[in-house]
């Protein structure tokens, strides 16, 4: 019990105006330095011929005009969209299925299985790349060896661009699934058991229960998973660097790798910034569409 009130300024009801500022000032400085400034500078560089040294010269829309005629850019953009369009739904299905099996009372042996599903989370994208590259080596990989055992010809997992991307997709799902699975597990556990009991008394099959009860109730989590995994897929970089370096050749360059190689290996900061801005706008559009779809997505 303290009665020092009278000796001090009365603070009981009024909150010092500077307090919230002192709590957030570090975040503000870092936010301005590493989000606002790169964003603003990037927009500015996109209209210049900046190469990292000297002063940038304003060249108007030239970068964008060149970009839209740049085959490498289109190829990287298309590859990124393909990768995202395949990884996101497949990853969604795999993580939801595993979470559903893990939380369903009829499934046995969930403890060790849950740990197994989670192990890829520990592995960095670079190491995940090493693991899958090793598994799908054309002349030495386990997969081609097993195919040869059943009399099949070795598959060109590295020299064929599409198959090479397929390996990246598998690795991406394998490596990125754990987090979505955890989100789904938490949400599934929050669905009251009584809903299922009532449904099964009414004679609903497990399949019907899944479509009519589970899936609708998972809507907010599903939205979150799709949004997060779309963003993650659009900026994939380390995994593909490690699996095939964007190869064969440059056929599997994804957007971030394209930006990296134009910006840093060829020192065309201005041009790379223009590509960044295009990717940024694309991400904004995707986020906007998904926000519209999910009416329950409020942060309050």
């Amino acid at each position: 019990m303290s009665t020092h009130v009278e000796s001090r300024k009365r603070r009981g009801t009024h909150i010092p105006q500077l307090a919230p500022l002192s709590f957030t000032v570090i975040t503000m400085v870092l936010f301005v330095l590493f989000f606002v400034m790169p964003g603003g500078l990037g927009l500015y560089y996109a209209f210049t011929d900046y190469n990292g040294v000297g002063s940038p010269d304003w060249i108007g829309l030239e970068n964008f005009a060149n970009l839209f005629q740049d085959e490498d850019f289109y190829s990287a953009l298309l590859r990124t969209l393909t990768y995202t369009a395949l990884t996101v739904p497949l990853g969604f299905a795999v993580s939801l299925l595993s979470a559903w099996l893990l939380t369903h009372p009829r499934t046995k042996g969930v403890g060790p299985a849950r740990v197994i599903f989670f192990l890829p989370w520990l592995v960095s994208p670079i190491v995940a790349g090493v693991i899958w590259r090793w598994l799908f080596g054309e002349s030495f990989g386990l997969v081609n060896y097993l195919l040869s055992l059943v009399g099949l010809a070795p598959v060109s997992w590295q020299s064929n661009a599409n198959l090479s991307l397929a390996v990246v997709i598998m690795a991406g799902i394998w490596g990125g699934m754990a987090f979505s699975m955890l989100l789904f597990i938490a949400a599934l556990k929050n669905i009251p058991q009584s809903y299922y009991e009532a449904a099964s008394i009414d004679g609903a099959s497990t399949w019907q229960q899944f479509w009519r009860i589970t899936l609708p109730l998972l809507r907010p989590t599903s939205f979150m998973v799709v949004l997060l995994s779309t963003i993650a897929a659009m900026k994939e970089f380390a995994l593909i660097i490690s699996i095939n370096g964007g190869g064969p050749g440059t056929e599997n360059y994804l957007m971030v790798q394209y930006i990296y190689s134009t910006g840093f290996e060829r020192a065309r900061i201005g041009y790379a910034s223009a590509a960044s801005m295009v990717l940024m706008v694309l991400l904004l559009i995707i986020a906007g569409i998904q926000m519209r779809f999910d009416k329950g997505a409020e942060y309050e």
């Binding site: 303290s2 009130v5 001090r8 603070r11 010092p16 307090a19 919230p20 002192s22 709590f23 957030t24 570090i26 975040t27 870092l30 330095l33 590493f34 989000f35 400034m37 790169p38 500078l41 990037g42 795999v94 099996l101 939380t103 009372p105 009829r106 499934t107 046995k108 299985a113 740990v115 197994i116 989670f118 192990l119 520990l122 592995v123 670079i126 190491v127 090493v130 090793w134 598994l135 030495f140 987090f179 938490a186 009251p192 009584s194 809903y195 009991e197 497990t206 963003i231 659009m234 900026k235 970089f237 380390a238 660097i241 910006g263 840093f264 910034s273 960044s276 991400l283 986020a287 942060y299």
Partner: protein, 295 residues
């Protein structure tokens, strides 16, 4: 074993259990368990093949027929990796980055999350939206200009250049904000009446209160930073400052990959994360991520 048949429609945090009155049907049990284990098998094969291969002597790695287990277990790859590359140094660099960033991330996220939860100002609201927007716009996407900013701040080729830009995370701030919103305002009011300053209230009362959140965020932040690749790649030029991921990339990106060394080196790099997982498995697998990421 208690079977709770009187479940209320409110949220139930225990795993679903069927009431014992339902007749046992073995078909679905077998089917679902088989499905689960086939999936689990598919998930563990890549990892198992990778780890077992790392214990094969270099000569055995490519010798047909391939065998699952090494014929002669060997740590040759490990000793070569350790002696040819300065792994002790890469470990130290990565540990410094991961630990320092994590400590700063937890403190800064807690302070910011606290402010967002407990003060009502217009500018705070606007700033909160700005922070949320950063999850939609990852900085990897604008790395050319981010790199220029880091360079002009004099952080290029310094460990600090990897640490400072990674401190703020919307996820961390959001986790703390959600948590502090559930702390009653009366607690704050009481402390204010006692004459404690806002900073003191935060450090001596609010921060200790949020220990579980701090803990979860610390594990995740450590994981993000240990496995991070893109910023160390951009910022660090001197091989003496390389983190593990950048060092591994230089092995995998080589013209002729030395698989024996690469496999062992990769396994070594996972060991710390494996320890974190074994020690904190409970916190990671049970982290109620929904409450952290969603309102």
């Amino acid at each position: 074993m208690s079977t709770d048949t009187t479940t209320r429609p409110s949220a139930d945090t225990t795993p679903r259990r069927r009431s014992s009155s339902e007749p046992r049907r073995w078909g679905p049990v077998v089917f679902q368990t088989a499905a689960l284990w086939i999936m689990a098998f598919a998930f563990i094969v890549p990892l198992a093949w990778f780890i077992l291969s790392s214990f094969k002597p270099a000569g055995e790695l490519f010798r047909y027929p391939l065998t699952l287990f090494p014929e002669n277990w060997s740590v040759e790859g490990y000793t070569t990796a350790w002696s040819r590359y300065d792994f002790a140094l890469y470990f130290r660099n990565t540990a410094v980055v991961a630990i320092v960033t994590t400590v700063l991330t937890v403190i800064v996220s807690a302070m910011t999350g606290f402010a967002f939860a407990k003060y009502k100002n217009k500018w705070l609201k606007v700033f909160f939206i700005c922070i949320l927007a950063t999850t939609m716009l990852p900085t990897e996407v604008i790395m050319p200009s981010t790199f220029i900013v880091i360079r002009d701040l004099g952080l290029y080729n310094r460990i600090a250049g990897v640490i400072v830009p990674s401190i703020i995370t919307a996820t961390g701030i959001f986790m703390f904000r959600q948590y502090y919103r559930s702390v009653p305002d009366e607690l704050l009011e009481a402390a204010r009446i006692d004459g404690a300053s806002e900073m003191r209230i935060f450090w001596s009362m609010m921060l200790p209160l949020a220990k579980p959140i701090a803990f979860t965020l610390a594990i995740f932040s450590f994981h993000w930073r240990w496995n991070d690749f893109i910023w160390p790649l951009l910022v660090l030029n001197d091989p003496n400052l390389y983190t593990l991921q950048v060092a591994l990339r230089s092995i995998v990106g080589a013209e002729n990959i030395d698989w024996s060394v690469l496999l062992s080196a990769s396994v070594i790099s996972i060991i710390p994360m494996a320890f974190v997982f074994i020690l904190f498995q409970r916190y990671i697998l049970n982290a109620d991520l929904n409450s952290g990421l969603k309102g």
